[in-house]
Symmetry: C2
Subunit: 236 residues, 2 copies
């Protein structure tokens, strides 16, 4: 499984993903699910994937190849974020169709979900959830966060904290706690985590990998865990 | 959907269930999912169901009928809780088989899950999760709680708080918060709630229905919600 969160807030964008993949409990591996595409000072995108790993990796490779070969349709040449999302959606759909065509139906799901967001100079930042069918929805002020993968365990804390005007720092903290809760309850989501933040109009993504022994994450987990227990004891 | 929790703790047993059923979002209704069976001073059982409502109601009716008709196999005559669980499991399995037999496969799932626990005089309390296949697992000191239905949203708080030696009062509070988180994030779980607690060797179940306007539940929800936000703000 996988867990990814992305938010579109007043201050900017936030992306977070785990790195665990599994095909059965005896085949667990670590793969990056967050990929950044940037053209300094002009545009930057982050893309998170869940679902079939072969499809996800194919998608990333094609997107990179399109840029390297300077193809007519490529992320760095898209006129708008909407066009860029459409490009990703069309690719996802065609990769799945191509993989599924002409083979036995062995019950394998080739689908992958994508969270895709960023900003192009001159337009506001946007964030999309792109479905395996290639269509997509956009995060709005009413629903500023989107999740893919094993999303239920970590949703209650997002529902309680995240609003459109939540600060990026607060949102980052909240995302980390959402991951902590998920990893507590579900083995298929695991460390290390990738976090990327984006401040509106900066046209520069800042990303970080958080390892198991990350000092701040450890302090946060412990403070949250003991805080929850204290709060709980104090309840009426 | 449905959400039910049951716990087997050092002090006794706890059962909690919501009352919302839905067949699509435009067909929502309220049904009791908690049923108690007691023989004063000798034995008492609580039974929670999730899944197909027709199967669940058929199960409850058959169990009541067995008792009313004083059939050889009935819950109040079972020699042990294990035997009682086997009786319930066999019934679940046969109801599903009987309903599914001789009709088109229209993609309807006739399955239901059951949490079943209680105590018979002279033996310790036990708690079982009975599967649609009729077999079952028992809660132990290592894993003192079991869930059925829409269980993921409310699991993190149980994982953080519930241990075998958690007091019944604490466990009740924790169950209510687990329901609150679930109802926040998922419309298919809804008020009112049914709660039943059982103190070891008392041979008497105490049950309560908590309505939307329940004064204590409101205070608890508000204290938790504002406490979480304060705790969150104070994090490093």
């Amino acid at each position: 499984m996988t867990y990814c969160i992305a938010m579109r807030l007043k201050e900017g964008l936030l992306f977070a993903s785990d790195t665990r993949t599994n095909a059965g409990v005896d085949q667990i591996a670590s793969f990056r699910k967050m990929h950044l595409f940037q053209k300094a000072g002009e545009r930057c995108f982050a893309l998170l994937t869940s679902g079939n790993l072969a499809t996800s990796q194919y998608l990333i490779n094609r997107l990179q190849q399109q840029i390297a070969d300077n193809e007519e349709a490529n992320l760095l040449a898209a006129h708008s974020l909407f066009d860029a999302a459409e490009l990703v959606g069309d690719l996802v759909k065609s990769i799945i169709a191509q993989t599924a065509a002409g083979q036995q139906n062995a019950g394998v799901d080739f689908g992958c979900h994508v969270l895709f967001g960023g900003q192009i100079q001159g337009a506001p930042p946007s964030l999309f959830h792109i479905y395996p069918e290639g269509n997509f929805i956009e995060a709005t002020e009413d629903t500023p966060y989107l999740q893919i993968g094993e999303s239920k365990y970590g949703k209650p804390i997002l529902d309680r904290i995240i609003r459109f005007d939540t600060s990026l720092d607060h949102a980052t903290k909240c995302a980390l706690i959402s991951f902590d809760s998920t990893m507590h309850s579900n083995l298929s989501v695991g460390m290390p985590l990738d976090i990327a933040t984006y401040r509106c109009d900066s046209l520069e993504l800042s990303s970080k990998r958080i390892q198991e022994n990350d000092e701040y994450f450890q302090r946060l987990r412990n403070a949250w865990s003991s805080g929850i227990r204290l709060l709980f004891d104090d309840l009426p």
